[in-house]
């Protein structure tokens, strides 16, 4: 039965392709040749630019071929963050910096300040007066050819970038969630899933052998887990619960303790006077040191804590790290907003400098972390303590570092428009460093699977708390805080947002822009609008939720029906010869609408019901 069926299918395969080819060749396409040539050229140009933008494709393939898709996801994440920063740099430079430079390209540096090497680390000194920071931008009416409103440009460029960024991250988070969480099996990770998701893109011989080994170990583990029937005694459960509670208490109190330490350090040492510039390096140093050392301490908890699945262990580690990093950043932001904003003359530039220092030190410590995490671990694992073995590439820790770095960049955009330059340089160096370190020092991950769900979690973490936190800080700064009175494009205004108010007032005199004034007055500034929008969104969410619940119930019912049908088929085949009409009537009655004929055993032995878009082609005309 087998080969005959397949050969029939082959003829089915060949004929549509020939039919399509024949129909195309008989078309009289000569008179369209000019149009075809133009579109050909356009598509070539487009594909050329797409390939040029497809950075590092060879490296990605090499990494994916040897280490698999979970490690590859780190590098893809890094690449997408790099592109975000490039976009940010391009729009900031073209809309904010270039007009400022065109207006006045000589930085107003006081006579006693010269460039020393220390500026590269501290960001203060000579850099303070350059276009790197907020303070160098001025809103005096430009006397050039065109009147360019730097205030509006500054505000709207940054607002537009944040909105676009947020939309991009939100969209990718939602689509990733839909694909990887909603449709995935909650039980999953079972043996069948492990087998089906063999990574076909792994091409390295040694890597394939290692994967086979790992797969065998994982299969044995999952089988033994199932057969064990993990049932713990109440005493053991209490013990585990106590250990979990203790671990969470310790990790949270460490985070709070570190936050307090940073706050104490900043309030007592940061006076940011030019004479004691080198002291300003202390706080970023301590922050980065904490971010490097404490997560390693958290990973030690794995020795004591026993989680029911490895996934929960990774989630717990991620949550602890996020709490630590966000509490430190939160303390620093609180300090900047509440104390620095009232103490200094040009406080935005001061905050920009602090962020510059944080970014620089984060870069150094990331390189250091790569050295310790990978190179030293390998040396220890191979020479001194052979039992440890070659380290794995810790995707979770590295991605969290990237998210933290991007948070700093997002916070810093308002205070230092050219900070993305530093970030771009940092990510470029980091890419090559991590690639070399990975290939030299690490082995492929031992546990396969769940890469797609981890990717969703990382994007979700990028959105909240990273993007939402930085957006709320920038929004609070521009809405509630008074801009400094002596420097910057917004000096003299009550708040940054007042530029829009002033602009709208000036637009009222222009009759053609009445619609803009109306939109501003009745949509942007009215609370009723936001209230209505919120109510509508909540209602739609509730409706979708109810639909989802209903569909889950439907799936359960249909599954039961399939089992019933196959039992029915088994008995009726034995009982009477003419089973087909009766059974098909029964089945078509109930489930025709849902195209469940495929599930019937009747069709088991034939490929006649191929999906219409199969066989490597996008569309075809199958014979009926």
């Amino acid at each position: 039965m087998g080969p005959v069926i397949c050969r029939d299918n082959i003829s089915v395969l060949i004929s549509p392709r020939n039919r399509v080819l024949a129909s195309k060749s008989s078309k009289k396409s000569r008179h369209l040749s000019c149009l075809a040539d133009c579109s050909e050229r356009m598509s070539l140009v487009r594909s050329f630019t797409l390939q040029a933008l497809d950075l590092w494709q060879g490296t990605m393939k090499e990494v994916g071929g040897s280490f698999g898709s979970s490690v590859l996801s780190y590098f893809l994440f890094l690449k997408s963050l790099l592109l975000l920063n490039v976009f940010s740099f391009v729009i900031n430079f073209s809309f904010i910096t270039v007009p400022m430079l065109a207006y006045d390209h000589v930085p107003h540096v006081p006579p006693n300040v010269t460039f020393r090497g220390l500026e590269l680390l501290t960001g203060a000194g000579y850099f303070r007066y350059t276009v790197l920071y907020y303070g160098a931008y001025r809103a005096d009416s430009s006397t050039g050819l065109v009147h360019y409103n730097i205030q509006l440009a500054y505000f709207f460029t940054i607002a537009a970038y944040m909105v676009l960024c947020g939309a991009a991250v939100l969209y990718s988070m939602a689509s990733s969630f839909k694909m990887n969480y909603v449709l995935s099996d909650p039980v999953g990770g079972g043996s069948w899933q492990l087998l089906c998701t063999w990574d076909f893109s792994v091409t390295n011989e040694k890597a394939v052998r290692q994967r086979k080994n790992n797969l065998r170990i994982q299969l044995k583990e999952s089988m033994s887990e199932r057969s064990q029937g993990t049932s713990l005694t109440p005493a053991e459960k209490m013990r585990h619960f106590g250990i979990h509670l203790g671990a969470w208490f310790i990790s949270t109190s460490m985070a709070v303790g570190c936050g307090n330490a940073i706050y104490y350090l900043t309030t007592n040492t940061e006076d940011w006077s030019p004479a004691r510039e080198a002291e300003t390096l202390l706080v970023p140093f301590v922050v980065s040191l904490i971010n490097l050392v404490v997560p390693l301490f958290y990973s030690l908890f794995n020795k004591f804590e026993l989680y029911s699945s490895q996934r929960r262990q990774i989630y717990a580690l991620i949550i602890r790290n996020v709490i630590l990093k966000m509490s430190i950043l939160g303390i620093l932001c609180y300090f900047w907003v509440n104390e620095v904003a009232h103490k200094f003359l040009c406080w935005e530039s001061m905050v920009g400098q602090a962020l510059y220092r944080l970014v620089v030190f984060d870069f150094f410590f990331m390189m250091l972390g790569s050295f310790f995490g990978e190179f030293l671990s390998k040396v220890i694992g191979t020479r001194w303590i052979p039992g440890l073995g070659v380290p794995e590439f810790d995707v979770a820790r590295n991605v969290l570092d990237l998210i933290y770095a991007q948070t700093l960049a997002w916070i810093g955009i308002y205070f230092s428009p050219l900070l993305p330059v530093l970030q771009i340089f940092k990510f470029l160096v980091l890419f090559y460093l991590k690639k070399v370190s990975l290939i030299q020092n690490c082995q492929p991950p031992r546990r396969v699977g769940r890469a797609a769900q981890m990717k969703t979690i990382f994007i979700a973490l990028l959105f909240f708390p990273s993007f939402v936190g930085s957006l709320s800080l920038v929004a609070y700064t521009s809405w509630s805080l008074t801009p400094s009175r002596f420097c910057g494009p917004f000096k003299g205004l009550d708040s940054t947002f007042s530029v829009v108010v002033v602009w709208m007032n000036s637009l009222e005199k222009v009759p053609a822009a009445a619609w803009a004034v109306w939109v501003y007055a009745n949509v942007v500034r009215s609370e009723i609008f936001y209230f209505l929008v919120t109510i509508i969104i909540l209602f739609i969410t509730f409706v979708f939720w109810q639909v989802t619940q209903g569909r889950k119930l439907l799936i359960l019912l249909l599954r039961q029906q399939i089992v019933n049908v196959s039992v029915c088929f088994f008995f009726s085949k034995r009982v009477c010869g003419c089973w087909y009409p009766a059974l098909s009537y029964f089945c078509h009655l109930n489930i025709t609408r849902f195209r469940f004929q495929r599930f019937l055993p009747i069709y088991r032995s034939s490929f006649a019901l191929l999906p219409p878009s199969s066989l490597g082609r996008k569309r075809q005309d199958l014979p009926a």
Binding site: S47, F200, S201, M223, F607, R617
Partner: protein, 188 residues
């Protein structure tokens, strides 16, 4: 066919692009790699067929545990041996980034169906597990473990409880596994 083995006509290129999920760059690269596999006499034939041994020397397929099954499934010859250029394009198209889940799961099913009978019964599953865990005696699972594993698999995926996994059940399991699309990929 409208093209010699050494050069791909523009019309044919756009037709291939319409009929498969590959871009023009990928088709041209595939053509280049395919002609390298042909022997000198075969290059002058109108529709050359690259032998299986030559195809298995491709670095993308060389270490793949399913390499022979892949060539068998995509081959259109009587003896299921060797691929023409169009078969090769079919292969790359099914394994490309833009192929849909339906197509990938359809071909995955055919690759895993070692005896080509349209269902995955216990023998197919056993061969599948052996393929993926190792061929030597030390690395194989014991018969007890194999039986246990197969019964676990059937419990998970056999919806109509007939003892085999058919295409629809396979696709149902695959649709709930988000890693499948990104791992069922071969790129030149």
């Amino acid at each position: 066919m409208g093209a010699t083995a050494s050069h791909l006509g523009k019309d044919l290129l756009s037709e291939y692009q319409e009929l498969t999920f590959l871009t023009k760059q990928e088709i041209l690269l595939a053509h280049k790699r395919f002609t390298e596999l042909l022997s000198r006499e075969d290059k002058n034939l109108p529709d050359p067929r690259a032998p299986t041994e030559a195809i298995l020397t491709l670095p993308e397929l060389k270490s793949n545990p399913f390499r022979e099954r892949i060539v068998r499934v995509f081959s259109t010859s009587e003896s299921r041996d060797g691929l023409t250029f169009e078969d090769f394009l079919d292969l790359l198209s099914a394994f490309s980034d833009s192929a849909t889940l339906e197509i990938k799961s359809h071909y995955a099913f055919r690759i895993f169906d070692f005896d080509d009978d349209g269902t995955l019964d216990e023998n197919d599953l056993e061969k599948l597990v052996n393929c993926l865990t190792g061929e030597t005696d030390e690395t194989r699972l014991t018969p007890d473990e194999m039986k246990q594993l197969i019964s676990n698999i059937l419990e998970e995926s056999d919806i109509d409880k007939d003892g085999t996994v058919n295409l629809s059940e396979f696709q149902h399991v695959i649709s709930r596994s988000p890693d499948f699309v990104s791992s069922f990929k071969i790129v030149l």
